[in-house]
């Protein structure tokens, strides 16, 4: 019964309630996986669908993710490595020479909301930093952002660096001047022209 209330708490963006109810369930001895998958992740799946259907907007999705995270923080110390919520780790950053980040930040927030672990390196990041982080965090995807057309060549350099590092991580790119054609040209594994699309793309890539 209470797990449904946790889901409701996420859907009504009530972080305090979600935190409290999660603690209650934990203390009552409810199976952690159940709280995690049915209560929290299940709630975000509903949120995701409502967003795709145009019922929920970006700020509401982000508030729901905040509420879900509040519950997750309560569970984290008790989770075993198999039950870990993360669907995979994503490294994200804006390329060298570019300081623009609103798109990148939105993508990072939405990926976190979708249940991925996101390591946001920030702006003006060179290829080495991207690769280092991907190796350190055993990343499944490296996501590269650029707004300035003059910094797009740095995207190519980063994609190549990731390939040459010999790691399993896939590369995806995005940003206003970036196109699918450019992604293909530089050998990136994927491209999205908006934030929701980026989340879908990562879901697909992580599954392979």
């Amino acid at each position: 019964m209470s797990i449904k209330e946790i889901t409701q708490g996420v859907l009504t963006f009530d972080a305090a309630k979600v935190k409290e109810l999660t603690q209650t369930e934990l203390d009552a001895g409810t199976e952690i996986n159940s709280i995690l998958n049915d209560g929290l992740i299940g709630a975000m799946d509903i949120v995701g669908k409502k967003f795709s259907d145009g019922e929920l907007f970006v700020p509401e999705m982000l508030q729901a993710a905040k509420a879900m995270k509040a519950g997750l923080e309560v569970l984290k110390p008790h989770l075993s490595s198999e039950a870990v919520a993360s669907k995979g780790t994503i490294i994200i950053g804006t390329v060298k020479g570019d300081l623009h980040d609103i798109g990148k930040n939105l993508v990072a927030m939405m990926m976190e909301g979708a249940g991925f672990d996101v390591v946001d390196l920030g702006v003006d990041i060179d290829s080495d930093k991207f690769v280092k982080a991907a190796v350190e965090h055993n990343a499944g995807v490296v996501a590269i952002s650029a707004l300035l057309t003059t910094t797009m060549p740095a995207m190519k350099a980063t994609v190549i660096a990731v390939k040459e590092a010999g790691i399993a991580a896939k590369t995806i790119i995005g940003g206003a001047p970036v196109t699918e054609a450019y992604a293909d040209q530089i050998g990136a594994d994927g491209y999205s022209d908006d934030a929701p699309g980026a989340v879908e793309l990562v879901r697909k890539l992580m599954a392979t």
Binding site: G54, V58, P59, L99, I102, T149, T150, P177
Partner: protein, 484 residues
């Protein structure tokens, strides 16, 4: 006889904010500058600010006291005279004089032959410049498009874009630069055109466009460019583009206050570098579409923010930078027509000095020559509207009314002969009856616009650069200008 009326100088304008609201926004911006501060990522700018009395803190943070803003507003010029490539007067940015031109750097263009959207190249820069050179209601040119990576090293393409415009128009140029080096090279070209730095300062024919990064950040390149423009007295539009709800508050007043603070901090820096250097006020501020996360271009919020910005600029006594003739539509359809019209009315009725982005489709990602020509027609009509109405004995015409009397007509009156030509006639909009329209081909407006673009491009020959000037420019470029 003393008449009971007189001819007043009135220009129809849209009024949005009250004086108190304007003052409140100004005070909010002063609060932001003193309490929150801005990040200034260039040592030279930080030193100028600190020396003048601003508080420089760690991590490039600066808090700016109100008196620096007030001093900067006092010294910044309230009028900027822009000349053309030949040194003739072209645009006077003052009062509510309004000038129009295209936008910069779209990655795509609507091909005029195929109607398809394709990546831009050098040919498009030349075309837009030539088209704007010919159109009577377009006052300046910008690189709406750009040379491709195949045609030129992307780090040097800003110079080539500028050179292509120089050789395809004598009208003033709104330009961007990728780096300080690019700006310096373009300035060198401008000095060749004018015949020296002093000559350039006296008769500038170009305006630089640089931006802070919202919220409240001045990136290293932007600072370098702003300072260089101040030093060389290159008129500069230092304009941010907040995205409401994402990089600025989700409310209009908050967005205007934030962007105002960004501009004012840029203004302070420019005036500290060189007192009196010309700078244009501006901002944009459109919502992030919270369903798709896309940054939109049109809509009522754009209207409100731009008019509010103009009213702030007027309060400060500064010329301003606005947008018009642009749309979120992907093709030149009814939405594009509606949004072009609405945005041009906004800019014209606000009375903004420099209205750019004429011809933008797809929220600024695609350039359209047809959209420029449509806007030219619309601007022609609005100019007519903004002339207002004359009310005097001649226009009241009560003697004529008395003579014609009830049931008569005015067709043969001398008064009609004197005034009938002052009515506006379209060049492109169709007013024929159905039969005549069908006989003319039954064309819709897009076809008419496309034909007009092709005719102009086929016929119009812009004044070429003098041979020695062209050689000097090519010397700076390191290549030929003509890349077609």
């Amino acid at each position: 006889m003393l008449a009971s009326y007189f001819n007043a100088q009135i220009r129809p304008r849209f009024q949005l904010l009250s004086q108190d609201q304007i003052k409140q926004i100004h005070l909010a911006s002063l609060d932001i500058l003193e309490r929150t501060g801005v990040r200034v990522m260039l040592q030279e700018a930080l030193d100028l600010l600190e020396k003048a009395g601003a508080w420089v803190l760690s991590e490039n943070m600066v808090k700016i006291p109100a008196h620096l803003v007030e001093e900067a507003l006092r010294s910044a010029p309230s009028r900027i005279a822009i000349y053309d490539r030949n040194g003739s007067p072209a645009m006077n940015f003052e009062g509510f004089n309004t000038y129009f031109g295209p936008g910069t750097d779209t990655p795509f263009v609507m091909d005029i032959e195929t109607g398809e959207r394709r990546p831009t190249k050098g040919l498009d820069v030349s075309r837009v410049a030539r088209l704007c050179d010919a159109l009577p209601n377009i006052d300046f040119v910008a690189s709406m498009g750009g040379v491709s990576a195949e045609e030129c090293d992307p780090h040097l393409s800003d110079r080539l874009n500028f050179a292509l415009m120089l050789s395809n128009t004598t009208k003033p140029i709104l330009f961007t630069a990728w780096s300080l080096e690019g700006l310096k090279d373009i300035h060198r070209m401008a000095s060749v055109i004018c015949g020296g730095q002093k000559e350039f300062e006296l008769k500038p024919f170009m305006i630089h466009y640089a931006e802070p990064i919202t919220p409240l950040q001045h990136a290293p390149e932007s600072m370098q460019k702003l300072l260089f423009c101040a030093e060389k007295r290159i008129p500069c539009a230092y304009v941010s583009a907040p995205i409401m709800g994402a990089t600025s508050p989700a409310t209009i007043a908050g967005t205007v206050a934030l962007q105002n603070a960004e501009f004012l901090s840029g203004l302070v820096i420019s005036q500290l570098k060189r007192k009196g250097t010309p700078i244009l006020y501006g901002g944009g501020g459109t919502p992030m579409d919270m369903k798709t996360s896309v940054n939109i271009y049109g809509g009522p919020e754009a209207f409100l923010v731009h008019v509010a910005d103009k009213e702030m600029a007027t309060y400060y006594g500064l010329p301003d930078f606005n947008t018009g003739g642009c749309s979120d539509a992907k093709v030149l359809d009814q939405q594009a027509g509606a949004e072009a019209s609405l945005s041009l009315i906004q800019a014209g009725m606000a009375g903004s000095s420099m209205v750019h982005d004429v011809g933008y489709l797809e929220s600024g990602l695609t350039a359209s020559c047809e959209m420029i020509v449509l806007s030219d027609e619309l601007i022609d009509m609005f100019k007519h509207i903004l002339k207002g109405v004359t009310v005097d004995a001649e226009s009241l015409a009560t003697d004529v009314i008395n003579k014609v009397g009830p049931g008569g007509n005015y067709l043969q009156e001398k008064h009609t002969m004197r005034h009938f030509r002052s009515v506006w006639y379209p060049k492109l909009f169709d007013r024929a009856n159905h039969k005549r329209w069908t006989e003319g081909g039954g064309k819709d407006l897009l076809k008419v616009l496309n034909e007009r673009v092709k005719t102009i491009l086929g016929e119009h020959k812009p004044e070429p650069l003098a041979e020695n000037v062209e050689e000097a420019i090519e010397g700076i470029l390191g290549s030929k200008i003509n890349i077609e």
